[in-house]
C-alpha cells in the first residue's frame, strides 16, 4: 500500500506529512520510556524482518498481490511506540533506496501503515486478548485478528486521503469499496503471517514478546 507520488495532491500530502511527523515524535518519546538494552535490539530486528517479509508479495485474487504490512506484528512483539518507528524506518528505506512509495507521498504512507495500522492492530489485539483466556494461543489469535483488521484500516486511511485530495475525480465510495474489499483479502495473509511469526517467537522466547509480558507477571504473582 505504498502510495506513489501524484495520486494525492501536494497540500493533502503536506498535511499528512505533518501528522506523520507528529506521530513519529510522540512514538520516539514513548519508545524512549519503554525500550531498554534488551528490547532495543529486538525492535531493530523487527524492522529488519518486516523489510524482508514486505518483499514477499503473495497472490490474493486473479491479478492482485499483497504483502505483509507488519504493523500488528511489530506492535505485539515490541510495543506500539517502537512499532511505529520500525515501520517508519522500513518505509524510508523503501522510498529512498528502492523507489517503492513516492517521496512526497511518504507522509501519507507513513500515516496509514506506521500509525493507523499499528494502533488499530494493537487496539484490536488488546481487546481480543482481554476476552480470551490468558494463554499463548490466545495471544497468537489476538495478534492475527489485530493484523487482519489493520490492513483494511490502512486502506480506509488511503480512502480518507483520496477523499481529501485526490488528483483524479472518481467517486470516493467506489474507491472505498474497492480498497476495503481488496485489503480484507490481503488482511487474511497478514493474519496468517503475523500469527505464525508471533507463535514462533512465543515458542522460543516468550520473554521477548511485549504483548505477552503482562500475563507472565500475573502468573508469577499467583504462584508467589
Amino acid at each position: 500500500m505504498h502510495i506513489p507520488d501524484g495520486f494525492i495532491d501536494v497540500q493533502t500530502s503536506a498535511v499528512f506529512a505533518g501528522l506523520a511527523a507528529a506521530g513519529v515524535a510522540v512514538s520516539l518519546k514513548g519508545a524512549r520510556k519503554q525500550l531498554d538494552e534488551k528490547s532495543a535490539p529486538l525492535a531493530g530486528l523487527t524492522a529488519v524482518f518486516i523489510f524482508a517479509v514486505q518483499m514477499l508479495n503473495f497472490p490474493v485474487v486473479a491479478g492482485t498481490s499483497g504483502h505483509l504490512i507488519g504493523a500488528a506484528l511489530a506492535a505485539v512483539l515490541v510495543g506500539p511506540w517502537a512499532a511505529t518507528l520500525a515501520l517508519t524506518v522500513v518505509l524510508i528505506m523503501q522510498a529512498f533506496l528502492f523507489a517503492d512509495g513516492g517521496l512526497t507521498a511518504l507522509g501519507l504512507s507513513t500515516f496509514n501503515m506506521s500509525i493507523i495500522a499499528v494502533w488499530v492492530g494493537y487496539g484490536v489485539f488488546l481487546l481480543v486478548k482481554k476476552i480470551l483466556p490468558k494463554t499463548k494461543s490466545s495471544i497468537v489469535m489476538a495478534a492475527a485478528i489485530g493484523a487482519l483488521l489493520s490492513v483494511p484500516a490502512a486502506a480506509i486511511g488511503f480512502t480518507i486521503q483520496y477523499a481529501m485530495g485526490a488528483t483524479a475525480t472518481f467517486s470516493v465510495s467506489t474507491v472505498f469499496g474497492a480498497m476495503v474489499g481488496t485489503h480484507v483479502l490481503i488482511g487474511i495473509g497478514e493474519a496468517l503471517i503475523t500469527g505464525l511469526t508471533v507463535s514462533a517467537v512465543l515458542a522460543s522466547r516468550s520473554d521477548l514478546v511485549y504483548g505477552w509480558k503482562g500475563n507472565e507477571t500475573q502468573l508469577e504473582i499467583r504462584h508467589g
Partner: protein, 102 residues
C-alpha cells in the same frame, strides 16, 4: 554467545534468507492499491518515482542481468541497510545516560 544474541542472529539470518532467496518467488502482480488504481482508473495520475532510475530501484540491482541474483542482492542490501539504520536508531533511543545516578 548469550541467548539474546543467538535469537537476534537467527532472526537476522532468516531475514537474509527471505529477502535474498525467497523474494525471487514473490508474486509480481500489482499490489492491492495498484490494482484498485488500475481498475478504477486513477493509476494514470501516478508520477514516476524520483529515484526510478536508482541503482536499486524496484528491488533489483542495476547491472546484474540475472533476475534471481539481482533481486536477491537488492534484498540482502535492504536487510543490512535496515539493520544498520534501525539498529542505530533504537540503540540511541534506549540509551539512558546516568539516569540511575541522579
Amino acid at each position: 554467545m548469550d541467548k539474546n544474541k543467538k535469537f537476534l542472529a537467527a532472526g537476522f539470518l532468516v531475514s537474509i534468507f527471505l529477502a535474498g532467496v525467497v523474494s525471487f518467488y514473490a508474486s509480481s502482480d500489482p499490489d492491492g492499491l495498484e490494482k484498485v488504481a488500475e481498475d478504477i482508473g486513477f493509476i494514470e495520475t501516478a508520477k514516476d518515482h524520483t529515484y526510478a532510475d536508482g541503482v536499486l530501484a524496484d528491488y533489483g540491482v542495476k547491472g546484474i542481468e540475472n533476475e534471481r541474483a539481482s533481486v536477491g542482492v537488492a534484498g540482502v542490501i535492504g536487510v543490512i541497510g535496515t539493520a544498520v539504520v534501525a539498529g542505530l536508531l533504537f540503540t540511541f533511543i534506549a540509551r539512558k545516560p546516568n539516569k540511575a545516578l541522579k
